[in-house]
Symmetry: C2
Subunit: 330 residues, 2 copies
């Protein structure tokens, strides 16, 4: 038995979350619903304009790793923080969740990455990410034994933003496939897809990536179309398995000619969409690595997403295992 | 018109909040519901045992200052952080709330104070506070013009724990009274009362403090009795005005022979009691400095407390002003 169900690789980020009105986004030229990349100066400027906030460990793949562990799965994580207080918080939280995390923190400069996340009254989150220490991640941080011992190695498309992380991913994918494992990725963000469309398509068609997670906007951006049916056909041809989330419309999973539609889980109140896609991937991959049906994988994904969007912050505060058990899913 | 409604002085702390079971408290010898003072070594040990957490600016008087500003009042704050990331977070949050806060951060060692707060399934919080940079607060940090220009100077009994903060308080109280202002304190914690009972009583009977906030446990501890009636009589004699909170039983306010009973605000779900007393004081002092009746002050206090105990973390994420307006209180 492999030691880990899922190894997740991503930008190691601490989230700084505050509510704001839509006018704040406009005044500060923040693209709503997107991940806006910012430099240190803009980070300082935006923070000076941000209201009172709360902090929580985040990072897309970090949230997924924490979610898998929250279901009771065995998860590992690679990602780079600095030797500062935010880095200490990130390390603490992911390890406290039971995730294997041994990437060495490195120096004080650049500092640990942070994302200022503005949550509008409609619950939508708009992220402003300063990558900080994440720019240091490279192939030297790939723990070969962990990759070899993980059923699935999962990474964020966001990793194409820092300079050398993509080398780490190519190395990890090689090790994974050499050991008969699978490789998964999330397309992360429609603008991220815009920046790296050709490379992402190449990762899929070259077989570097087996499983792709995307939301509807990312999928449509990938194939530069408004036609969801067409985009689903294309992604079914370009990778072995794709899971596409569609907010309140649930998710669609395609594997070759197989297609499963999964309804969204009912929620009481949409509080903050931060982490929705990350937690969908967590639930799905937890089910997938337990050899559950595609439909069950999708249901576990929708359940985890429903939990996280009913709270502030990117990682569920309660036990996903308990919630899934109460829902009769595990 | 004085420039500020309330100046609050306290230990400047960042909270680290996580859920735990009651057995965790027992196994780690944490006194439930109390503020447990810890040193750097125990802070490290407890953090290593703590589950995934979230961070939020806290500190009792800091929460009160933020709450007063949240109602639309004019608040100022004195408290000491270090020049580190947690200090930056503390500074940001209180200023972003509109509170005047100019206490200079100082060096990297000791670091900014933090309190590990464990929230049990019943919603009770048990705090473990490492005072860090708070030990540096002294009379040199008293901004004389701010004290002179504040209707009420409010401080925490917790300030008797660091070595020189009490000198700052005595100096601030002198300036306040010289300028015809009032001085208020909270008894903070039953064990804190146990440590400094004689000094707290002396602050009251000497007229250094005019207004006292306490919860029932602190009041009973102050007078070493189990008789609430008797304790209320005594505190009415020992200070000009006292507000005593009693959780779901609301609050009692006494001023000389005057007594007002205030019912607790109904809540949907008790999530986390962190900040309940601090926010009661915020609502009360906001009303008090707007010359509202004792009963209205009590109602504003109970409202703010009800808001904060229905969320994780010590400062309300929504607008207190809006909530109070919807409740017809302002």
């Amino acid at each position: 038995m492999p030691k880990f169900d899922v190894l997740a690789i991503g930008n190691a980020i601490v989230d700084i979350l505050a509510r704001c009105d839509d006018s704040f986004l406009e005044e500060n030229a923040i693209i709503k619903g997107a991940m806006n990349l910012i430099d240190a100066d803009r980070a300082e400027l935006l923070y000076s304009k941000m209201g009172p906030a709360v902090e929580a460990s985040g990072g897309s793949a970090g949230n997924t790793a924490a979610g898998i562990a929250g279901f009771g799965g065995k998860a590992a994580y690679f990602g780079k923080v600095a030797e500062d207080q935010l880095g200490g918080i990130f390390q603490h939280d992911i390890r406290a969740q039971g995730v294997h995390y041994q990437t060495e923190p490195q120096g004080l400069n650049p500092p640990t990455a942070r994302s200022m996340i503005f949550v509008t009254p409609d619950g939508e989150r708009s992220m402003n990410t300063y990558l900080g220490a994440c720019v240091e991640l490279g192939p030297e941080h790939v723990e070969e034994d962990v990759v070899a011992e993980s059923k699935v190695t999962y990474f964020e498309g966001y990793l194409w933003d820092p300079p050398r992380a993509k080398e780490a991913i190519r190395e990890a994918a090689r090790i994974a496939h050499d050991n008969g494992r699978e490789v998964a990725m999330t397309l992360s963000d429609p603008f991220c897809v815009g920046r790296y469309r050709a490379e992402f398509l190449d990762l899929m068609t070259s077989g570097t990536v087996d499983i792709v997670f995307a939301n509807k906007h990312e999928l449509l951006s990938l194939y530069e179309t408004e036609d969801l049916e067409l985009a689903l056909e294309k992604i079914a041809a370009d990778c072995k398995l794709a899971a596409v989330t569609m907010s309140e419309d649930g998710a669609i999973v395609v594997r070759g000619k197989e297609l499963a539609k999964i309804a969204a889980f009912p929620i009481e109140e949409l509080v903050d969409t931060t982490g929705a896609g990350d937690l969908f991937a967590a639930g799905f991959l937890y089910g997938y690595t337990q050899d559950r049906s595609l439909e069950d994988c999708g249901k576990l994904g929708c359940l985890a997403a429903a939990v996280v969007i009913q709270q502030i912050g990117p990682r569920p505060m309660g036990s996903l295992k308990e919630t899934a058990s109460q829902a009769g899913l595990i």
